[in-house]
Amino acid sequence: MKTLLENSLPFTSWLIVGIGWLGLSSPALAALGGDVTSVAADQAHMKASIEVKQSEGYEVHALQAPGGTVVSEYVSPSGRVFAVAWHGPFFPELHQILGSYFQQYSAALQAEKKPHGHRPLNLEQPGLVVQTGGHMRAYFGRAYIPEMLPPGLKVEEIK
């Protein structure tokens, strides 16, 4: 079932390696649920270097920001970002990398009364799972669209 905006852009080649700031302000479409051009927008916003890895049925675009946080964006063969994951010393900007899913994440946090105490987050919603954890200087997490996971990719591999 299609849950996202249709992507009518052709799948273009994207091997971009480098550091640079293009002076973009907030892009129209970013990261989770977005198409592969949104990865470039995230890279510009994060001032990150990028490395791309091929796997069976998907690609991983790893963006490394200054200070060391790595955000990995998982792209389907049709050019759609179906998962993002991060680890590193600084919490990534979720409103950037969750893209259009940030509203759902934020609304879910505010709608459900959380029990008292600090701890890792496990948010399981229809169409969106967000898990965050760690501590100062060492954060990690992932967000993914469950129905878009390719067969054979286990959740614990998204990192």
């Binding site: 001032k47 409103h95 946090l109 600090h118």
Partner: protein, 442 residues
């Protein structure tokens, strides 16, 4: 067509908070606690800690924060012994570094600002594991914990206003800014973890030739708006008060008694220094874990969760850590426990108490290994009972750490286990032959 997502709205019903504002103005000097070691009386290096449900637990309409240890600190203007406030119910957090208090608690002290490397007042942004954050200026203070004093120590003063918080810190004000007693569930954070500062070299201007720009969210200056990321020298970063003590400054020993099931309140001690006084000697019965990226390895139900580094020796995640600021035992759901419903989705809801064990292993091949047996009960029942019975200590509260990562050994790990934390950059010389910090031992 865009699918409409069903957002479940559930009422957690775990009570509501009352009151705001900070600690009491009691005379400076906090009585030393008698820890479970039975030393008794007041010792300069012994800070009383209490798992007592938090600052509102005894107030009508207040709430209980389970599995959180609290202590008091006295904060003075630098060089003053009279211009001071004592703040109770600071969350004792071994997963972070630095003292963080509300603006309302210290505004009367007129603490001096601490500058970023560009000469403007520094502001700090820090995150919690669940994505919530703290924001506010860095100021200089003298912090006293039990009988130990940290002079000229940068602390974070948590802003009462949400004005001018940069987007990279607040996610457009859509993640939770915990700048009140009810949202933070404490009167501040006392970060006494493995590291001497909250950011370290990554935020230091010596990194400038390597990094194109300062990392975010971390430190900022706001002399012109919007606030922009800045480098701050390690000396000016929010600092673990323990390293600023004149003695007993190489680590801590966190002692809480064993808890079977649930208990109303438990009290214990945070002892400063390892091998520096008669009350903090290192026992030969300890197992010591050296670390990779401040983590160690845990083997659990056929899986091994080890910290990893890449070929450039950069941390790439994974492994386990011990963190008194986490209010349960969080681990991957290999046992396939049901996840609790609604707002309790961070937790496990097994049908009944389940016994488990995991083995912590030194990640650098020293051969050190220790088995931890623990139990997990239904978190929904535990929280419900805690509210009716007033239990602040829930030894069997467990939940999810994202799969692929190891254990977040939160406060229940400490019940009946004395945890020795040796701080990065410090020296533990007694007994001889111990490795350089950072390390954990228990």
């Amino acid at each position: 067509m865009r699918k409409k997502f069903l957002v479940l709205i559930l009422l957690g019903g775990v009570g509501f908070a009352v009151g705001c504002g900070g600690g009491s103005s009691t005379p400076s000097g906090v009585p030393g606690g008698s820890g479970s070691g039975g030393s008794g009386g007041a010792s300069a290096n012994v800070l009383a800690i209490a798992v007592d449900g938090g600052p509102t637990a005894t107030q009508p309409g207040g709430f209980i924060v389970p599995n959180a240890a609290f202590a008091s600190a006295t904060v003075c203007a630098p060089g003053s012994t009279s211009n001071c406030v004592t703040i109770d119910h600071l969350l004792v957090d071994t997963g972070s570094s630095g003292l963080r208090v509300f603006e309302s608690e210290v505004s009367s002290l007129n603490l001096p600002t601490v500058n970023a490397s560009n000469g403007s007042a520094a502001y700090d942004c820090v995150s919690f594991a669940d994505g919530s954050f703290l924001w506010g200026p860095v100021q200089n203070a003298t912090v006293t914990l039990a009988g130990e004093t940290a002079s000229n120590t940068p602390i974070q003063v948590i802003s009462s206003s949400t004005a001018n918080i940069p987007t990279s810190c607040s996610n457009n004000n859509l993640t939770e800014f915990q700048n009140t007693q009810s949202s933070l569930e404490a009167n501040g954070i006392l970060g006494v973890g493995l590291e001497p500062s909250d950011c370290g070299l990554a935020c230091d201007p010596s990194e400038e030739p390597v990094e194109v720009s300062p990392p975010a969210p971390a430190y900022y200056t706001c002399s012109s708006l919007p606030c922009t990321p800045q480098f701050v020298t390690v000396a000016n970063q929010v600092t673990n008060p323990v390293v600023k003590f004149s003695t007993d400054n190489n680590g801590t020993i966190f002692e809480l008694p064993a808890v079977s099931g649930s208990a109303a309140t438990v009290t214990g001690s945070l002892i400063f220094g390892i091998g520096t006084e008669t009350n903090n000697q290192y026992p030969s019965s300890n197992t010591l874990f050296t670390l990779v990226c401040d983590n160690f390895t845990t083997n659990f139900e056929g899986n091994s969760y080890a910290p990893t580094v890449n070929t450039a020796n950069l941390c790439t995640g994974g492994g386990s850590f011990i963190d008194s600021g986490s209010n349960g035992l969080f681990f991957p759901n290999v046992p396939n426990f049901p996840i609790c419903p609604g707002g309790l989705s961070d937790f496990y809801c097994p049908a009944s108490l389940t016994n488990l064990s995991a083995t912590n292993v030194d990640p650098n091949g020293t051969g050190a290994t220790k088995v931890t047996s623990f139990s997990v009960d239904n978190a929904q029942n535990l929280y419900t009972n805690a509210n009716t019975d007033g239990d602040a200590a829930l030894a069997t509260l467990g939940g999810l750490n994202p799969p692929g990562f190891g254990f977040d050994w939160g406060l229940p790990f400490y019940y009946g286990v004395n945890v020795y934390t040796a701080i990065d950059g410090q020296t533990v010389s007694t007994p001889s032959g111990l490795p350089s910090p950072p390390w954990w031992a228990y």
